[in-house]
């Protein structure tokens, strides 16, 4: 291969030679699924879970709505790569290439400042992890999902696949059969984790699909903020990211899940994220999608208990050849439940954004309230934005608000800013960052800064 895979204009567009310990063959069949399970020395129930899910995957059709997925070729993807032999818990012990990659995305600094524990996923295996001692003392578990299957089988078995069954959709089935890596978080009753738990991860092999699996359980009255930031290098062929994130919010508990995602422009990012929220529980998804070729992602809250609250704040940015099909799902099952969706999308250089939202108020969910606000900003005539709001209200005594705006970046605003000495590119960046501000200010500072930088980078046209 020659150089074209490397594109240094792209901020995180680098890749490095790697030493793989094990690399499964391209394509998928029962043998590969079983081999992954064997490789990971999993208990029988998990092997069976995977094989059953694979059966469902084969049966399921591709989604016939949303973004164009026709170019995904499941036979051209590696489903498992294990880069090093064993887990390490110190930076110095990480392989040099991996350390360099992480240095480029700045993990060590971030860690020094903020991190309680980092679960950094490199390829499909978590290779680095340092859990703060205090976390363990409080009984909080924060570890690699694969390790959790072995160390905490009772909890994992009880909840794994309980919120998102393999049969939910084709990509959830795929993830269920070949998942690898991801985080497991368990917060015991009444424990409030003060600092955000953070996991960085990145895809770093051509034609390699990443299928991490995250499970978060917060017991009664507990609290945790989980943050995932993703950056990925550029590759010439398409890669697939199909993650599953399941969250269980018990009575009176609260979970916030923040994503700042910047996949490279060839990644299909098809993620199923869902939470089950019990009485008085609060679930907040903050979801920022900048990169990828195609994203389909609709974080959802199943509001099962009285007064449960769900919130999705999302930002989607689509540039040239990108389609962000993102939104949210809110299902009200109990009385006095409330949900809020705030979506901000930006399209530029022929990019396309779609807001797709589903709100259901089931019979019996009396006195519930629903608030949906979706704003689209279109930067030029070649770009496109669509809104697909779907509301199924089966109860009368409820309060529903829906607002939608579409805005073009006006010449007048640009002239106003230029009269202050700010050039067009800077002005656009400022206005776009202002547009997303209501959501961006909900993100931890370091990620908000990163998001701001990524947006300015996109605006200056130095990317892609």
């Amino acid at each position: 291969m020659n150089q074209p895979n490397l594109n240094f204009n792209y901020k995180y567009g680098f890749s490095m030679p790697q030493k793989y310990v094990f690399k499964a063959k391209k394509g998928l069949n029962e043998e590969v699924v079983a081999a992954i399970s064997t490789m990971k020395k999993e208990p029988v129930w998990m092997t069976e879970f995977r094989l059953k899910a694979f059966g469902i995957f084969k049966e399921k059709n591709m989604p016939n709505w949303g973004a164009d997925l026709s170019r995904i070729n499941f036979n051209e993807i590696f489903y498992y790569i294990k880069p090093t032999n064993k887990q390490v818990n110190k930076w110095e012990n990480l392989p040099k290439e991996i350390r360099e990659t992480y240095d480029k995305i700045g993990i060590p600094e971030a860690e020094k400042k903020y991190l309680m524990g980092v679960s950094a996923q490199y390829e499909s295996e978590v290779v680095y992890e340092s859990v703060n001692k205090q976390l363990s003392k409080q009984g909080v578990i924060f570890c690699d999902m694969g390790m959790a299957v072995k160390k905490y089988p009772d909890i994992v078995k009880k909840y794994f696949g309980s919120v998102i069954p393999a049969s939910d959709n084709k990509f959830a089935a795929l993830n269920s059969s070949v998942w690898s890596g991801g985080s497991f978080v368990y917060v015991p009753k009444g424990i409030k984790v003060k600092l955000p738990l953070q996991a960085y991860f990145r895809i770093n092999a051509e034609q390699f699909g990443q299928f991490e699996r995250t499970l978060i359980i917060v017991e009664e009255g507990g609290y945790v903020h989980y943050v995932e930031g993703c950056t990925a290098p550029v590759y010439a062929t398409d890669s697939l990211h199909a993650a599953v994130v399941e969250i269980i919010v018990k009575k009176g508990a609260r979970v916030r899940y923040t994503t700042v995602q910047n996949w490279s422009k060839n990644v299909y990012n098809l993620v199923t994220k869902r939470s089950r929220v019990e009485e008085d529980g609060i679930m907040e998804w903050v979801d920022c999608n900048i990169g990828s070729q195609v994203t389909m992602k609709y974080p959802s809250c199943y509001l099962m208990g009285k007064r449960a609250r769900g919130e999705v704040l999302s930002i989607a940015f689509s540039g040239k050849n990108q389609h962000q099909d993102a939104g949210a799902k809110m299902l009200h099952f109990a009385p006095d439940t409330s949900s809020r969706i705030i979506s901000k999308s930006i399209s530029k250089d022929g990019g396309r954004t779609s807001y797709r939202g589903l709100v259901q108020v089931r019979p019996g969910a009396k006195n519930s309230s629903v608030y949906v606000s979706c704003d689209a900003l279109i930067l030029d005539d070649r770009s496109r934005s669509d809104t697909y709001p779907d509301m199924k209200i089966k109860e009368t005594d409820i309060n529903v608000q829906h607002e939608a705006t579409v805005e073009k970046l006006g010449e007048e605003k640009l002239f106003y800013l230029s009269s202050r000495g700010i050039n067009k590119t800077e002005s656009e960046g400022l206005l776009v960052n202002g547009f997303i501000d209501p959501v961006a200010k909900e993100i931890p500072l370091e990620y908000a800064i990163e998001l701001n930088r990524l947006i300015n980078l996109e605006m200056s046209g130095s990317v892609g």
Binding site: K413, I422, N423, K424, L430
Partner: protein
């Protein structure tokens, strides 16, 4: 990119003879044969005028006479088309091809008649970006707070989306706040007295007057009201895209009494 005026600090600076201002007749902005078309219609017609350094100019005229167009043209609104042979000379350089941000960096400022609301962008974010590499963010922040106090702008307003939900007077004060922090040599105020109550007008006029040192002002207005606070050196009256008359501050008083109709027939 000299936008800050140079002020000598040697002793005796304040004791310079009063004639200093009289002698200072350096041209700052020269409009030559300036004609401007907007969507095919000629709005400004062959304007010739020289604005001198450190003077205060008032431009008056009835609605639609081209006052705002002139202001936008000097600032460089990209949707305006200048006719061939039109020329704008600023600090001895032709600037008609320069984009507005370059003109601004060169020391031209326009206070908008209807300042735009910018959601999610506060005045600090705007000024920090505008002054990056010129003033450090901390100084910008301090200056905003200092001048906001002088202008009686609620500090909370400086932290909100610019002009979002602000009253007419607050918007104009925020324009002035930007002007003083950006510290440009040439400041054009397009109807800074419109939509402003008496108290706010007093503050605005007082502030402009107080900061006139080393500044050239162009005050566009319909009324003599503001000019009673800030006496202009030159009053220019525009009618139908042309300069109908120029004079000293007394011209503004005449207009107040007699209106524009008489000038139209001249």
């Amino acid at each position: 990119m000299q936008t800050q005026s140079f002020r000598p600090t040697y002793a005796g600076r304040n004791n310079l003879p009063r004639t200093e201002k009289m002698e200072d007749k350096t041209p700052l902005l020269i409009l030559k044969n300036l004609s401007v078309n907007i969507t095919g219609k000629k709005i400004l017609k062959n304007i010739d005028f020289t604005f001198h350094k450190n003077k205060i100019y008032a431009i008056m005229g009835p609605n639609g006479s081209g006052k705002s167009t002139l202001a936008y043209t000097i600032m460089g609104n990209p949707s305006y088309v200048l006719e061939k042979n039109s020329s704008i000379l600023y600090k001895n350089k032709e600037i008609q091809a320069d984009l507005p941000d370059k003109r601004a960096k060169n020391g031209i400022f326009l206070s908008f008649q209807n300042p735009l609301s910018l959601s999610g962008v506060n005045v600090f974010q705007l000024l920090r970006l505008a002054l990056s590499g010129i003033k450090d963010p901390l100084t910008v922040k301090e200056e905003i707070e200092k001048y906001a106090r002088l202008l009686k702008i609620d500090l909370e307003l400086t932290e909100r989306s610019l002009n979002d939900g602000a009253s007419g007077g607050e918007k104009k004060k925020l324009e002035l706040l930007q002007a003083v922090v950006l510290n440009p040599d040439l400041q054009i105020f397009d109807e800074i007295d419109t939509g402003v109550d008496v108290d706010a007008l007093k503050i605005i006029a007082g502030f402009i007057k107080q900061h006139k040192h080393n500044k050239t002002y162009i005050i566009i207005t319909h009324y003599n009201r503001i000019l009673k606070y800030i006496r202009p050196d030159v009053v220019m009256v525009m009618i139908d895209g042309k300069i109908a008359k120029t004079g000293d501050y007394r011209l503004a008083e005449t207009i107040e009494k007699k209106g524009y109709e008489k000038l139209r027939t001249l």
